[in-house]
Amino acid sequence: MASRNSKTNAPMSKADMLANYRTMKTIREFEWRMIKEFEAGNIPGFIHSYDGQEAIATGVCSHLLDTDFIGSTHRGHGHCIAKGCAVPDMMKEIMARSTGLCNGKGGSMHIADFSKGMLGANAIVGGAPPLCVGAALTAKSKNTGGVSVSFTGDGASNQGTVFESMNLAVVLQLPAIFVYENNGYGEATSAAYAVGSKDIASRAAAFGMPAVKVDGADFFAVYAVAREAVERGRKGGGPTAIEASITRFGGHFVGDPQLYRADGEVETYRQELNCLKNFIDRVCAEKWLTLKALKSIDSEIQILLDNSVAGALSAPHPKPEELYENVYRSY
């Protein structure tokens, strides 16, 4: 679907492109706001920022419907937003309010929205891939044409549960997609050290499925490889692995002084691997979108976030009796 003035064919409609921009930008602004609210003491516990990895969640989830599934990590806000979770309800959850997505019981590390196919952030490294394989089994069993995507970090890629899940998905030829977000670090340990093979994609390929590497700072590249994987899954072609390289813009958690990184490292990468900057440069250069259109989205996002924070701060806290609720459906 080529738009009239573009230098090359746009890979999606203008509306989709704007929607994807909105998603990426919402994630980035959400995470920045998170840091502010965390520092202001409005967020209990600890949080992990997805800042910088927006193109990955967005490029993948852009192909998914509410009936498709994703499983996430401790760094889950971006996946939530990309999968369509309502930002105001996320904000309430992360601020531990009774009307949050999980009634304040989950918080940042366990936020979920089953109505959107978002099967939860997961505070256990490597916790989600088995579940996602199960969701893929549901899709296959019920013949829905759906797919199930697990997002996994470079550090998590060394967890046994993750390896087992890949093998199981291959054996049962399930529509599962293993997205590895290689942001260079698991806490304060480099991926170059912890991944013995130094290469997540080819290790995944050796499990018997197509596996590709992609630049995680390039939304369009992620979008393209994800499309292929999703199509393969929908058509019964079995699982796919995608390794998206990126860097972590922030610390492991908000507050991490990142002593293990070289001076200036983060600043350099923030410039070079900035998916939003890359996106804007590209869409403007290609004349697919105008800066003006993007700016107007930006201001809508600010309003959304302001309203979400205000709404969350005034939302009710859980009532004491809620402590005992929802352990079981019935007991």
Partner: protein, 335 residues
Amino acid sequence: MSIKTIREVIGETLSAEMRRDSDVLLMGEDVAGGAGCSGEDDAFGGAFGFYKGMVGEFGRGRVIDTPISESAFIGAAGGAAATGMRPVVDLMFVDFVGVCFDQIFNQMAKFRYMFGGKSDTPVVILAMVGAGLRAGAQHSQMLHPMLTAIPGLKVVMPSNAYDTKGLLTTAIRDNDPVVFLQHKLLFESSCEVPDEDYEIPFGQAAFTRQGNDVTIVALSSMVHKANAVADKLATQGIAADVIDPRTTSPLDEEAILESVEMSGRLVIVDEANERCSMAADISSLVADRGFSSLRAGIKKVTAPHTPVPFAPLLEDLYIPDEADIEAAVMSVLKP
């Protein structure tokens, strides 16, 4: 109505539920057997052959052989349950829980709570428990105490074929994760079992013997030993209540408390190791809420604080027996 063994009842009940509800599926290592092999397709039907014939009826799409990757396939059962299926997943020996425990206790058991009640995880984990097969320390454990301790899990331990059918039916239709523990020494145990399906509610104990002099709570295969002791004592004029809780989570606390209210004396028989066991759990329940009726200290009859030894002679000593139970009962009768 006909006489059936637990062995027979399990496959029948599973098959009936799979006929009834197309969302139910069975998965695990060799639940069919023969995958990728050149011989028979339905070669194993589970480690002890309980599922023989099921792959023929339901196909490999619903009777799914898995690689030896418990975290992946138990976790997948949880994930499938959370997204619309009702999987029954066979862990084989409960001892294997160690290689997939996270998926059970941190994932499926906690989903509903962590997600604010917005998810259901109707999954049943089948596992064999207990010593007696001379299978050694890694294939002979009773791990219901640690499973019972986990909020969000339900734990079922039937002692006979009738209860097995009713409780398994309930488990499959239940919307929470259920661990269904079958004692290896009971597979040939038989009794009258109705042909039509029926549910036995969780949290409802059975009184397998009745009497006011002493209360014996026994779990799983220990129920039969407790019954034998009660029968023997009856000939001596001592009347015992024998209570089979049938499910440890939820636990029928009222049944136990009511019985002790009459008898004032309690013995709990649990094949698990003694520390932090169900025997301790039930004892502490009564030591709190039933204290005023107690006329003697509460005795636990459990396995000792040792792994399960291989040598038959030692294994037989390890497993609580009728003499142990009788001695405990006599000691609470004459404190």
